[in-house]
């Protein structure tokens, strides 16, 4: 068996064209898609339909009057006090936030519904909303207090996200962090510079953010686009590796090398098993190279824990076995049909279709439920889901289902291919 595996891998590794397809092309696509989506996040273009819920628990009027009262009771000079009272009456923290989420650019990204806290929690639990944005109690009070009196820790927004929409959540997080920075560093009201003996209110930047930032409730870590597309492209291009092994197997049949192997007394099923193992090893190697290159060049998985890498290796191994099954199945179909049609159709059409269904191009959560469900049952889709869950820091119970699916698909493909592999050439 080792003889077959060594030969298959040597042949493939020496074929530069094949290597370019299996390694270089996905790597280029990871870079293009990963960074192109980065631009989307910056608001230059739109491709996502981000659906989120807004829950406002803050009473703006009450918060404002509390701040007005504190200013009024402060020991500040009269003129400064008057300026601050005017500013407190004019600044509207909730309106600033709504200015962002109601903006034209943000609307192109998606839409929101204003709900009660209970409704919002339910929407997240049932994956009806990708993100839940909570404006907590005393948001106005905390923000105005920090802005005008430099007192307290500032205001915080709370964001909860659904694990079903990792990419949307990531984008939302980026937008909210950008909003937080804008409020803190660019539009914050300055404080009165009493030390200079001036009575006028100055606007100045401050090192200490007046906006306390965005707090993400850690149900999972959001996934970055470069991480998503590293997985997306890898699970797509490993299917080409399986196709390539099957195609080369039929080459062997056509040029009678397979006959030589059978004449030597090798059981054809052992030959088929050799093809499956070669494909599995090649795919495992391909995944390691792609994830490694992506991490080295783009820092994709830099700093991840040992637990993360072990979980990733487990899914990679199961996925590689599944691709071994796929290679065996395609080899069998080619041998039965006595042509290359199976691998040609699979490589030319099915890889693209499965990649679309499995979410390699964009998350299936953006598609209909039926497509999303189907995608989860494709080998690439199941693996992609598992990879995403692992990256989000989910426990094994969250991605075990996808590993079971991969094992089920592997088993089915192995059974069918070994059952159907032509035996008429055997005595």
């Amino acid at each position: 068996m080792g003889n077959f595996i060594k030969k298959d891998i040597l042949i493939l590794v020496r074929d530069r064209k094949e290597l370019a397809i299996l390694i270089l092309m996905p790597f280029i696509l990871i870079a293009i898609l990963g960074f192109a989506l980065g631009n989307i996040i910056n608001g230059d273009s739109v491709t996502l339909d981000l659906n989120f819920a807004l829950v406002v628990e803050d009473d703006e009027a009450s918060g404002r009057s509390k701040v007005l009262e504190e200013i009024d009771q402060s020991q500040l000079p009269g003129e400064v006090k008057a300026q601050l009272l005017q500013a407190a009456a004019e600044i509207q923290p909730q309106a600033m936030l709504r200015g962002v989420i109601d903006s034209e650019k943000f609307r192109q990204l998606g839409s929101y519904q204003e709900l009660t806290l209970e409704e919002g929690k339910r929407a997240i639990e049932q994956d009806e909303a990708a993100v839940l944005l909570i404006v907590p109690e005393n948001y106005t009070y905390n923000m105005l207090r920090k802005m005008l009196l430099d007192s307290g820790d500032g205001a915080r927004l709370l964001v909860e996200s659904s694990s079903k929409y990792p990419l949307s959540s990531g984008i939302f997080q980026d937008v909210m962090e950008s909003f937080s920075r804008t409020v803190s560093y660019e539009t914050a009201l300055g404080q009165i510079s009493a030390s200079k003996g001036q009575m006028a209110v100055e606007w100045q930047t401050t090192e200490s953010p007046v906006h306390g930032g965005v707090e993400f409730i850690p149900s999972f870590d959001p996934i970055r686009s470069i991480q998503y597309y590293t997985f997306g492209m890898a699970v797509m291009f490993i299917m080409y590796a399986a196709t390539s092994i099957a195609s080369r197997a039929y080459n062997e049949k056509e040029n009678f090398a397979f006959d030589r192997i059978v004449i030597a007394g090798t059981n054809p099923l052992a030959y088929l098993a050799g093809k499956a193992i070669s494909a599995a090893m090649l795919v495992f190697l391909q995944l390691i190279v792609l994830f490694g290159m992506s991490t080295l060049c783009f820092g994709t998985f830099a700093g991840k824990s040992l637990e993360f890498w072990l979980a990733l290796l487990l899914v990679m191994a199961v996925l590689a076995i599944c691709m071994g099954g796929l290679a065996a199945l395609l080899t069998t179909l080619n041998f039965r049909a006595e042509n290359y049609r199976s691998t040609q159709i699979f490589g030319g059409l099915f890889v693209t279709l499965l990649s679309f269904l499995g979410g390699s191009f964009f998350p299936t959560s953006a598609m209909s439920e039926a497509i999303s469900y189907l995608g989860g049952w494709t080998p690439n889709g199941a693996a992609l889901n598992a990879f995403v869950q692992i990256t989000q820091g989910a426990g094994m119970e969250r991605y075990l289902d996808f590993i079971v699916r991969l094992l089920f698909l592997s088993g089915s493909m192995f059974i069918v291919s070994f059952w159907l592999f032509p035996r008429r050439r055997m005595f």
Binding site: K7, I11, A257, V262, I263, A264, G265, T266, R425
Partner: protein
């Protein structure tokens, strides 16, 4: 040593091989001749255990290969018509791979590789990839791969197709050495009658799935011992003359080769020369050369099948 008994293979409605009986004695070199579709490759595949016969048997030293396929696998080396090698691997890597599938390893494998490379005279280029080799060199490694396990019988399916005359001569010489020096039993199929004439002690002629003649070269030629082969060479092609000759009942076969050369097979008892010159004159054809030849195996084949070997 090796024999086939009423070997038959039927694919759906088509009979590819129909009751073939042939035998090979130890150390013999036997030719299997036949046009495309004659059933040669199917017969070879059945002998080498690649295809299960519909009926009949293959016996090696009296034991049924059908019942015990393993007994022939280590005794037999097969050189397919195609270059059954891996183009991305070097000659050594290819030979090592095929050696290992026969269970060779370590020093034994190393020695076998060196020996077969020496036999086909490619030791100095052993590390180069097959895809960089010429057609003739690829054919030589194709033979070497079949010799790795030192088989007693070697079956060669048209091993000289598509190569230059020099490489062809080298391969023929290699086959002769295997047969004479290494005492290997050879079953050689070819489209080239002269190769078979040169290499083989006995010949089987197949057509439409059957063996239509067999025997030693002289025995086969004697099929035409009562006939002469007359070769006419004309200055210009003349269709009318050919048509008249074809209508002549005394002429067994008329074969036109390249428009200007006409080959006739006629009974020795018939004096045709006078008639030939008269006919040529009648149609304005000028005969520039005329030969009366002894029949060749090609003539025998033409006589038996009504077509040329490479039709």
């Amino acid at each position: 040593m090796l024999e086939t008994i009423e070997l038959r293979k039927v694919y759906k409605n088509k009979t590819a091989v129909d009751g073939v009986n042939l035998y090979l004695d130890p150390g013999e070199s036997v030719g299997l001749l036949g046009p495309n579709g004659a059933g040669k490759s199917t017969t070879i595949s059945m002998i080498s255990t690649l295809i299960k016969p519909t009926s009949g048997d293959v016996k090696l030293n009296g034991q049924s290969v059908l019942k015990h396929p393993r007994i022939i696998r280590h005794e037999l080396g097969v050189v397919p018509q195609e270059i059954a090698l891996y183009q991305e691997l070097s000659a050594v890597e290819n030979l090592q791979f095929f050696g290992r599938i026969y269970g060779l390893k370590g020093k034994e494998l190393e020695l076998a590789v060196e020996e077969v490379l020496e036999l086909v005279d490619l030791t100095d280029r052993k590390k180069e990839r097959i895809k960089t080799y010429s057609g003739g060199m690829k054919r030589r490694i194709n033979i070497a791969a079949a010799l790795m396990h030192q088989p007693k019988i070697i079956i060669m399916d048209e091993p000289t197709v598509g190569i230059d005359p020099q490489s062809r001569n080298y391969i023929l010489e290699t086959v002769r050495r295997l047969n004479i020096e290494k005492k290997m039993t050879v079953l050689y199929t070819s489209h080239y009658m002269e190769e078979v004439e040169q290499l083989c002690d006995r010949i089987y002629i197949m057509d439409h799935g059957k063996v239509i003649a067999s025997g030693r070269k002289e025995e086969l030629k004697s099929i035409l011992s009562a006939e002469d082969t007359i070769v006419l060479q004309l200055e210009e092609p003349c269709k009318e003359l050919v048509d008249e000759l074809k209508e002549n009942n005394e002429i067994r076969k008329v074969d036109v080769d390249g428009n200007k050369t006409i080959k006739l097979i006629v009974p020795k008892t018939v004096n045709l020369l006078g008639h030939l010159f008269q006919a040529a004159e009648r149609h304005g054809a000028r005969i520039v050369n005329l030969n009366v030849q002894k029949p060749s195996l090609e003539d025998v084949f033409l006589h038996l099948t009504g077509r040329k070997l490479r039709d």
